[in-house]
Amino acid sequence: MTEQTAVSKTCRIELESFEGPLDLLLYLLRRDEIDIYDIPVAHVANQYLMYIRRAVELDLDVASEYLVMAATLTRMKSKALLPSRRIDGEEEADPGAELRRQLILYRTFRQIAEELQRSEETWTEIYTSPGERERWSGDSIEIEPGQASLLDLLKALNSLSEEEPELPSQKIQRTLLTISECISTLEKSIEPGKNISFRTIVGSKPARSKIVSYFITILELIRRGWVVCYQAYPFSEIEIQRTERWSVDS
């Protein structure tokens, strides 16, 4: 492994360990010991952008959500740099307020998720009787009329298609009919100066591959000028006539 891929791998793991841009921002705030109520916009924006830029440089697939946040932070940063225009008595809305609200909300739910995880930890060790046994037994659970959801129907459909018995396999022999083989057959079956119909050449109930092979052969023979073809009207029988050139050339 080259150094470059090693670095890219660590970075990928790092970015993937975050549950989105808000998670990454919270991490940066905690790392730099920043109070969520007093975010130095320029500093945080720089740190965030550095992270994203590194990921982009390493040619990682950065989810669009991260890029949207990068744009938002850049805008906030530039706004913070500009002198604020103050309309009489009205205070300029704090550009960080919405971000702060998002961060606090997300942090709250992340904490709940952690609590849920602790409950999960405890409760997966506890077994009740007999509900769980049924749930995991894989047997179909009876659903009351009107209670089936779309998901239930999809599950049922999926299990049906899984159960479909395997069709008995059959080996299909592929018969190869080369153009040169066709030509030598035709050489024997078409007498000089006489007409023969295409139907006669391929015979009755021919395989599709046979029709195609002979048709291409006829086209090849026309190109060489070894046969002439006649057709009375579209889709009617094709009559093939051998020319003198066939015997001369070959």
Binding site: E19, G20, P21, L22, D23, L26, L29, R30, I34, D35, I36, Y37, A63, E65, M69, A97, E98, R100, R101, Q102, I104, L105, Y106, R107, T108, F109, R110, Q111, I112, A113, E114, E115, L116, Q117, S119, E120, T122, W123, T124, E125, I126, Y127, T128, S129, P130, G131, E132, R133, E134, R135, W136, S137, G138, S149, L150, L151
Partner: protein, 192 residues
């Protein structure tokens, strides 16, 4: 302790029931009042612990159930090997948290809180029967609404939705404007 008739009836009912039995059902089937049922449950659990049984009666998803002690989780899990689904991912847990507190809610609402696409997390939760589609919001596009299920309560050992931690505070938080938020810090600003 020798168990009385009522306690043993309660024990039998809970053991044989497919679903968690509510206090009302226990009252109805035994012909006793709330208080006597609660006392019977206490006597049963005391007997279980006194005699060092591996079982307890717990309250979950709106009713009572007989459950094994977590101490025996490893042993019992062998019964369900390969069938018991794995633990939920962080993305699924976060999505679960948002749905639990703001249900019924749309995918958009979840994504605006988490700041990321939640499609696969929602799909996982639907497949595991933790959430269900509970309707559509009557707004343009009529997006689907998601709510939690009884399986969710059982999985996390909650007896009902009111037992979710800090329920009221989060409801307030969700409806709060950003300026109001600044005046209130639920978790203390020093935490992050």
């Amino acid at each position: 302790m020798i168990l009385d008739r009522l306690a043993r009836e309660v024990e039998a009912l809970i053991f044989a029931s497919e679903e968690p039995l509510s206090i009302q059902q226990l009252c109805e089937f035994t012909g006793s009042g709330d208080d006597s049922i609660h006392q019977a449950l206490d006597r049963l659990n005391k007997t279980f612990s006194d005699q060092q049984h591996a079982l307890t009666i717990i309250e979950v998803a709106g009713g009572f159930r007989i459950a094994t002690d977590s101490e025996f989780g490893d042993v019992v899990s062998q019964l369900f090997e390969g069938r018991k689904p794995g633990k939920l991912s962080r993305a699924a847990l976060e999505t679960m948290a948002v749905i639990a507190y703001s249900q019924p809610c749309t995918r958009m609402a979840i994504e605006s809180i988490r700041g990321v696409n939640c499609d696969s997390a929602i799909r996982t939760l639907l497949e595991r029967d933790m959430i269900r589609i509970s309707g559509r919001m009557e707004t343009p596009g009529r997006p689907l609404l998601y709510s939690t299920t009884k399986t969710f309560l059982e999985y996390f050992g909650l007896s009902n939705l009111d037992h979710l931690p800090r329920f009221d505070e989060i409801e307030e938080l969700l409806g709060m404007s950003s300026s109001e938020l600044e005046e209130r810090d639920l978790f203390g600003s020093g935490e992050e």
